[in-house]
């Protein structure tokens, strides 16, 4: 890549401010703050789900429809994408742009793979009689997991944009921050899925 030279000064650690120890880069701090708001967003959705998940009316219950082996595989796929994005950022910090691009490709592919699992799951549930309109449980389930899926889809879109930018224009210090910020978002989306998997699927199967 022509940008290999520019990449000579890519920071391994982002600077923090002396007074508060917060990231000095506005975009990194801004993304952390955004994620705090996202925590409140998903907490409200998950809280709503927990309040409504027994309201199944005449429709199926969670224990009846959840397919744990399938969702476990989907979970493993999504969680491995956190590993690949870490390896991508590490490669970027080693100034190995080529490896970074490969890891980002893989991350995006794992994200798409997860979304396919989710699409398949939604399709199956629909045929088993669980839709948005069936019951409060159905509404809460599809809205919560649907919003998580939208977050994954937006993350894939974001990764692809940065990937194409780096393929076309190489990488520089500004773009490394953009990739780093995206990786924080991606980890968050994965962490939320851990909570959803535990509280919706695992707890739903036993209770």
């Amino acid at each position: 890549m022509s940008a290999q030279g520019e990449a000579a000064h890519l920071p391994l650690q982002h600077e923090t401010s002396p007074e508060l120890g917060l990231p000095k880069d506005n975009r990194i701090l801004g993304l952390w703050i955004f994620l705090a708001g996202e925590c409140a967003f998903f907490a409200s959705l998950i809280g709503g789900y927990l309040g409504l998940h027994l309201g199944v009316a005449h429709g199926p219950t969670g224990a009846q429809v959840f397919d744990l082996p399938l969702t476990t595989v989907a979970t493993l796929v999504l969680l491995s994408s956190s590993l690949t994005v870490v390896l991508g950022v590490a490669a970027m910090q080693r100034r190995d742009v080529r490896a970074m691009q490969i890891w980002l490709w893989l991350t995006a592919l794992l994200g798409i793979f997860f979304l396919e699992f989710q699409g398949f799951e939604f399709y199956t549930f629909y045929h088993e009689g669980l839709t948005l309109q069936t019951s409060a449980f159905g509404s809460a389930f599809f809205t919560l997991t649907g919003f998580h899926g939208l977050h994954v889809a937006f993350g894939v879109f974001w990764i692809l944009l940065l990937l194409f930018q780096s393929l076309k224009h190489g990488i520089n210090e500004d773009r490394t921050t953009k990739v780093f910020v995206m990786s924080l978002y991606w980890h968050f989306v994965d962490v939320v899925w851990v909570v959803i998997f535990t509280l919706v699927y695992l707890a739903g199967k036993v209770g």
Binding site: F34, E38, F41, G48, L52, G55, G138, S139
Partner: protein, 621 residues
């Protein structure tokens, strides 16, 4: 509005220049964005005020038929929604935009384009809400829009859809403002401006933004859930299919109670600037003021169920929330006593700004005391849903927030618009508003105690409600005259030549340390801050300016951009399409919005450089 065009600097972009109205649509300058927030808030205030007047005319006499019951419901709902979301928050966010970067010694906010997006989402989202009047009727289920009243069964029209979608649009903008100003205040303070040297208004902005960050996601989720119910026939609030009506109330008030602090804390901040400036004394108990703000913010998330005392959640729940609610009186009391102690022994000047600030204290105390009365759960069952509640929240939101906002308008007018508002008209404006306010809202305490329920479109003769209602309506017209005097004051002031006085009040904080009009780069050299009230200290030491923290040099500025405006417009188009069930257009507009967001994620703005020695406007790089 010749004044607006006067201040339009020619805006440079990557090889592009915007003029006239386009310069305003494309601006990313926090000062102009602040001005537009304030104008838009005043614009919506006229509508919210007109709705209130129509309500007061309808309640002038028993069995009145001035407006129908249906219209009455729309009027009080839109009055509440307007005053909270389109007036109180935006006017305060306007001051925060215009003043906070100056107070901390910053050249701009952290994310200037996102700041413009916040503005346009508010403006266009507000217009979207108001278009409901012409598209089948405005929201009519009250500003807290309880289910099942607001559900598809009892509210089949589009009004509640306008509420759900309109508030999502403005809400996203508000959330972005929170992220923007948290980063700005935490990361962009001038050298030496430690947290405990920041002016109290900046402190209040910091804490308010934290409240927005955690309060707006729950309401966004609530609006999404109701939108799913109403547009896609989901069952979140449909009880026969397992839904739960209390979910709405919980999520609404988890937002709703912090929201009242979102609109009062910046007013606290304004008062904490004005009282020291016009007492010529430092703010008494500075650290305790900052601590009180933080404690209020923390407690504000612990009290939401006091809005639900009448739900029958049980004695234990009610007692816990009664106690946490009353606890808030402690930090608030600290603030009141600190303001009084600041005044004690000061050389007080009774300018209009200070009159408004001083009136804030007794009015807010009245509202606070009726608040403690409402916080007593057993007694609340008597006050609940009566005019006593209406009296209470008008004393805190009008007597508190709006008095604070008007104090801020008179105080910061010379900084924001380069000219002083007329003081004689100002005093007339103040006294009419002060008297009109009390004549309107004090009788409502008595009406409530006599049992008049809120939100009734008319009442029977002979239960003693007529006279207090008539007094309140007279008061509302005194208020109208007072606000028209303010409008007249604005018009004559804008017709005058700008005075361009840098520091008319001999004030204390950094925004007064720079020339008037404020240069587009704010500070030619960032100041070095060595004290709290550093500008005041410098003036007392006979210096006219603060020590610079950096050598003079070219200043990098962000390019203006039309993207925020068009992105907001795209989102509003998606809103209309979803509401009118044109699903393909809604999907297309959402995809277009995501595409524009994506373009911003990879955008690289070279910006341009301004040379402070050169005439304002600068040269493109």
């Amino acid at each position: 509005m010749a004044a607006i065009t006067e201040r339009v600097a020619i805006a440079h972009a990557e090889g592009r220049t915007y003029h006239g109205i386009w310069a305003w649509l494309a601006t990313v300058d926090h000062k102009k964005i602040g001005i537009m927030y304030i104008y838009a808030a005043l614009f919506f205030m006229a509508f919210g005020g007109a709705e209130a007047l129509l309500v007061r005319i309808q309640l002038w006499q028993p069995n009145n038929h001035f407006v129908s019951a249906e219209t009455f419901n729309q009027l009080f709902t839109m009055h509440g929604v307007t005053m909270i979301f389109l007036v109180a928050m935006p006017i305060l966010i306007g001051y925060i935009n215009a003043i906070v970067p100056l107070q901390i010694g910053a050249r701009d906010v952290a994310f200037p384009r996102m700041n413009a997006l916040s503005l346009w989402l508010f403006v266009l989202g507000g217009l979207f809400l108001y278009s409901s009047w012409f598209m089948g009727g405005a929201p009519d289920a009250g500003w807290f829009n309880y289910v099942p009243l607001s559900g598809a069964h009892y509210s089949p029209g589009a009004g509640v859809d306008f509420y759900d979608i309109g508030l999502q649009i403005t809400g996203i903008g508000t959330l972005m403002t929170a992220i923007n100003f948290l980063v700005t205040i935490l990361n962009m303070r001038a050298p030496g401006m430690r947290l405990l040297r920041m002016p109290m208004f900046t402190w209040s902005a910091l804490i308010t933004m934290l409240l927005i960050l955690f309060a707006f996601p729950p309401i966004t989720v609530n609006l999404i859930l109701q939108m799913m119910d109403r547009l896609f026939h989901a069952n979140f609030f449909n009880i026969p299919l397992g839904g739960n009506a209390l979910l709405w109330q919980n999520l609404f008030w988890i937002f709703g109670h912090p929201e009242v602090y979102i609109v009062i804390l910046p007013a606290f901040g304004i008062i904490s600037e004005i009282i020291p400036a016009f007492s010529r004394k430092p703010l008494f108990g500075y650290e305790s003021m900052a601590l009180a703000l933080s404690v209020i913010a923390f407690l504000s998330f612990m009290v939401w169920t006091h809005h639900m005392f009448a739900d029958g959640l049980g004695a234990v729940v009610n007692s816990i929330f009664a106690i946490t609610s009353m606890l808030i009186a402690v930090p608030t009391g600290i603030k009141i006593f600190n303001w009084l102690a600041t005044l004690w022994g000061g050389q007080i000047r009774f300018t209009t700004a200070n009159l408004y600030a001083l009136s804030f204290i007794p009015l807010f105390v009245i509202g606070g005391i009726s608040g403690v009365m409402l916080a007593m759960a057993p007694a609340d069952l008597q006050y609940n849903d009566s005019y006593f509640v209406v009296a209470h929240f008008h004393y805190v939101l009008f007597g508190g927030t709006l008095m604070g906002a008007l104090a801020g308008l008179y105080y910061w007018f010379p900084r924001i618009w380069g000219r002083l508002l007329d003081e004689r008209l100002g005093r007339l404006n103040f006294w009419l508003v002060f008297i009109g306010f009390n004549v309107t809202f004090f009788p409502m305490h008595l009406l409530g105690l006599e049992g008049m329920p809120r939100r009734i479109s008319t009442y029977a003769a002979g239960n003693g409600w007529t006279t207090p209602n008539q007094i309140a309506t007279v008061g509302a017209f005194i208020l109208l005259i007072g606000m028209l005097i303010l409008l007249y004051n604005l018009i004559v002031t804008f017709r005058r030549k700008p005075d361009l006085v840098q520091d008319p009040w001999d004030a204390r904080s950094l925004e007064w340390s720079i020339p008037s009009p404020t240069p587009e780069y704010n500070f030619a050299q960032l100041p070095l801050i060595e004290d709290r009230d550093a500008y005041w200290v410098a003036k007392r030491q006979g210096r006219t300016a603060l020590e610079p923290a950096e050598p003079p040099g070219p200043i990098h500025m962000p390019s203006p951009s039309l993207t925020p405006f068009f992105l907001a417009l795209t989102i509003v188009v998606a809103g209309y399409a979803a509401l009118l069930h044109v699903d393909w257009l809604a999907l297309l507009a959402m995809l277009a919005a995501f595409w524009q967001v994506g373009a911003q994620l990879v955008h690289e703005d070279p910006g341009y450089h301004v040379h402070p020695e050169a005439p304002a406007g600068g040269a493109a790089e």
